[in-house]
Amino acid sequence: MRIGHIALTLPLLLVALAPVAACDLDPVHANLVSQLGPEAPGIPKGEFHRAGQPCVVCHGDDGPASEKFAVAGTVFYGPGTNPNVNGQLMGAGSVNVYIEDGSGAMIPPVTTNCVGNWWIKASDIGTLQFPLLVTISGPTLGGGTQQQTMRTQIGREPSCGMCHQVQSYPDQPGAIANYYETPGVVYLTGDDPKYQGDPTTCAMSPVNPPIPLGLGPVSP
């Protein structure tokens, strides 16, 4: 009789708990995912989506994305006055990302796609040994090559976009002021219009990705 009760109760309990297990039980992570908002109109999930956002928030162990990244980010051309992009952010394609890990080993370089996104899958590299040193190098429209090396090491954060955000000023409406907390997004070049490419050459518009303002760095 008792065994019969257990046999009946256990499946019911599992069914009742299934929705809970499917939910994100970490409120900090759930909040971060929520802050990123929905997909931008016209840009489906895939290699071109959510340029500039902190990729590994979703592409990490806690999901919800199925593909796990060890480290990932987006590189932009500097904001300029090119009429094609009207002073907005534009992803920088064909930029090589060089990473030296905490053991001193160079990770095989990866290259940004045409919206500036790059990533290294966790399955390709296993556990990444922090701290990391990063250099980016890519072509300019002037025919040269521009290189930028990050001044500081990356201590633990696998998403560039967690620290490198669109800078919002204290009096900017609708934004949490992060003026003193972020160096801005990752730029390949400075504020020079000649370095800005033609957005029509990319399958997806690389211009002005909808990056949430003021998503502060969080290290639980």
Binding site: F130, I154, G155, R156, E157, Y179, Y180, E181, T182, G184
Partner: protein
């Protein structure tokens, strides 16, 4: 069984009263005096000295090793560090942004206060020579003598180690050279 309940109730009441007394009797005017290491040695900015050697203080080493925005360059940290390349102290200076102007004197003072205020009583004991430098979290964490989410960022005997330990050992022991070398070596 019935005898246990009154005992439990009395014990609970005593605990509640004790907690109430403990929480209401703190001294609002109490001050913890901290004897800290030398501020001047802490705040030496990275520069080339008259002898051609590079000069650096402890802050420069902490800024490089610890103060990135994803680690101790965050306002919520007990050891919260401002730096030129990381978190900035809110100011009227528009250049005071990450990657902008050099670390300001106000930020250096705030960093110093964060370092000595992390374990004020123990810091005093270390500076007075009653405890070893490795008793402090300032070293225990980066040496990974206890859990540190950032892993081991300082190796015993390295220039960074010598820089901080020599600073804690007093003015006659401070090795500005070790601090400078720590900026260019692992």
């Amino acid at each position: 069984m019935r005898a246990i309940f009154p005992m439990f109730a009395a014990l609970s009441a005593a605990v509640i009263v004790a907690l109430g007394v403990a929480c209401s009797s703190f001294d609002q005017n109490a001050v913890t005096e901290v004897t800290g290491p030398d501020y001047g040695e802490f705040s030496i900015t990275n520069s080339i000295g008259a002898d051609g050697a590079t000069n650096a203080g402890v802050d420069a080493v902490l800024e490089q090793r610890c103060a990135s925005l994803d680690c101790h360059g965050q306002m919520g940290r007990a050891l919260r560090l401002f730096s030129q390349s990381g978190l900035r102290l809110i100011s009227q200076d528009a250049a005071n942004v990450p990657g902008g102007a050099p670390t300001t004197q106000t930020e250096l003072v705030a960093n110093y206060q964060a370092v000595i205020g992390l374990q004020p009583e123990l810091m005093t004991e270390v500076v007075q020579g009653n405890e070893p430098p490795t008793a402090l979290l300032l070293l225990r964490k980066p040496l990974q003598l206890e859990r540190h989410k950032g892993g081991q960022v300082i190796v015993p005997g390295s220039n960074a180690y010598d820089c901080i330990v020599s600073w804690l050992g007093g003015p006659s022991n401070f090795s500005e050279r070790a601090c400078a070398l720590a900026l260019t070596s692992p």
